[in-house]
Symmetry: C2
Subunit: 338 residues, 2 copies
């Protein structure tokens, strides 16, 4: 039924070793013999079985990527960029979507690390490092992406969260805004924590009164920003900072629908998805923080392959920098420096 390497060997009149070496270029084979082998392969329509190969070599040529939300543009773009890098290097990509659910993350990590992939990229939805760490077999190649833990146990690739938010608050304060609200993502995530802490510190440094009600948390899922906004608007904000692209779009739409005009009625600073439609329309009325998603994806791909190929490689922590685009200087882009 299935054509195997020994069928090829038989037809070509050589040994299976020769066929194997011919295919994989792992030993010298005379060109006449190669010829015979390739002819037999073509005649039989032989394709090496990936399962058997993986089993034999222990290499699957597959990387897993645990993502909190595939349909979120931020992650979709990152997946694209990761896939691009991996496929260019002979690897395939398995996606697992946790939908910000810890149990699903556990299930998926366990499944994938049990011999299904060579390495794992994880944008974890977990807060507790112990719980995450317990899932990873000793020595298994893992790279944390976008969301990290407070240990040096795994390599990681993320973007700076503190500086852009700190800068945002300062700019708003300098503009005369006093009551600055902020909409963060899930409170348990490292990215959210860093951003909120930057907000707090900047507020203090700018001598602006802190007020717990000015800090709201959404879950970066659909319609989560509206509730946050309602609560912020009730308190009468001069400005709002949004920590996530999807919620930024919601914010803009919601304000638009309420007849609140950006920059005239309220100041807005936000993390945005670079090519999101709302961003294109409103880029000139707000400060935008644009994360280098594609670089993030590529760096993640690089790091995981590096670890897969050399599991002893030292832990590596890469922090990329977001672009900050103030609306007052359209066209001008500046890089925050951490």
């Amino acid at each position: 039924m299935k054509v195997t390497i020994s069928d090829v060997a038989k037809l070509a009149g050589v040994s299976t070793a020769t066929v194997s070496h011919t295919i994989n270029n792992t030993r010298y084979v005379s060109s006449e013999t190669k010829e015979k082998v390739y002819r037999a392969i073509a005649e039989l329509g032989y394709t090496p079985d990936a399962s058997a190969r993986s089993f034999r070599t222990g290499k699957k040529k597959i990387i897993g990527f645990i993502v909190p939300d595939i349909a979120n543009k931020f992650f979709a773009t990152m997946i694209e960029s990761v896939e691009k890098y991996l496929s260019a290097n002979g690897y395939q990509l398995i996606i697992a979507n946790t939908r910000e659910n810890m149990e699903r993350e556990e299930t998926n990590v366990r499944l994938l690390t049990a011999g299904m992939v060579d390495g794992l990229l994880v944008a974890s939805t977990m807060e507790d490092f112990q719980r995450f760490d317990a899932l990873i077999p000793t020595g298994f190649p893992v790279v944390l992406v976008d969301r990290i833990f407070d240990t040096k146990k795994f390599s990681s690739v993320c973007v700076s969260n503190f500086q852009p938010i700190y800068r945002s608050v300062c700019r708003l304060a300098a503009k005369g805004d006093r009551r600055i609200g902020i909409i963060g993502g899930l409170p348990r995530l490292s990215s959210t924590k860093e951003r909120i802490s930057a907000y707090r510190q900047a507020m203090a440094d700018c001598a602006l009164p802190e007020e717990e009600g000015l800090i709201q948390y959404g879950d970066s899922m659909e319609k989560s920003a509206q509730g946050c906004l309602d609560r912020l608007l009730e308190r009468g904000c001069d400005a709002i900072i949004v920590c996530q692209g999807l919620m930024a779009s919601e914010t803009i739409i919601y304000l638009h629908q309420k007849g609140i005009q950006l920059s005239r009625d309220i100041d807005l600073v936000s993390f945005v998805d670079y090519d999101s439609e709302v961003y294109t329309l409103y880029a000139d009325q707000m400060d935008s923080i644009i994360q280098p998603v594609e670089e993030l994806g590529q760096a993640a791909g690089e790091q995981i392959l590096k670890r897969v190929e050399d599991p002893e490689a030292p832990i590596f922590e890469k922090v990329l920098t977001s672009a900050y685009k103030p609306y007052s200087q359209p066209g001008s882009w500046s890089h925050s420096d951490r």
Copy 2:
């Protein structure tokens, strides 16, 4: 180093067969023995090796999905929905992104069908069925998604393309529009062909003059709609039909930037991504065609698992229906009926 089934067997004082049967529930094992086995598994931290298992059984519990553009919201949403269905049924999903490139599609299909996955979902970028067909090993479970071929060889899941466009033209014509332009996707795709042919037929049926320049093709990638629009606007259109969500967003933004107002200056009908931001903002100024992306994804998942579990199952062709939302009746939704 690695804990295998025989390590477990040894520690539990049973045979490997018993361990295997205990894990997989494939033979009666007394509860005391089960106890011993599970205890040994826990003590050693044993996890069955997925590679070996796949190799042995021939089942990988993985489905491949060949996608033309991951970052496109339409496909990202579909991936999400496919993944949801598959993971609920114990399968993982491998993504391959072709970026609308036929060579990449060939490479990926070949790779995945060579023992890496149990079945394949394909939204093909190819026009030539022979070329596609040549890539698929005999009997390999394949389901075509969104883009189909003119044969009954593979099962498929797609949405109706003809009816919504036909209806669009009729509505525009009834409104008095004469010069109706259309922006289609890649000319080689079945979806594009059906939509354009619906346009032609409707134009003829409505006694509107055909004009080749009114038909423009974009590639559904970034910025492709602008060129089409420039050419259409040059000809002075009363109305424009856009056949794809991403290009719809571009169109709306571009018209907005040019100061052309929807419904006052020009009529717009478009396929849109349901939760896209621009759609949310402009839904009341245009006719929208909304494809049932999630149902599409789920149906695709259902079909491919059905084929994987029974390769002899009859060919199945599912055609889903898009929702048509006329802007004149906000809130009212109607279903086109093919």
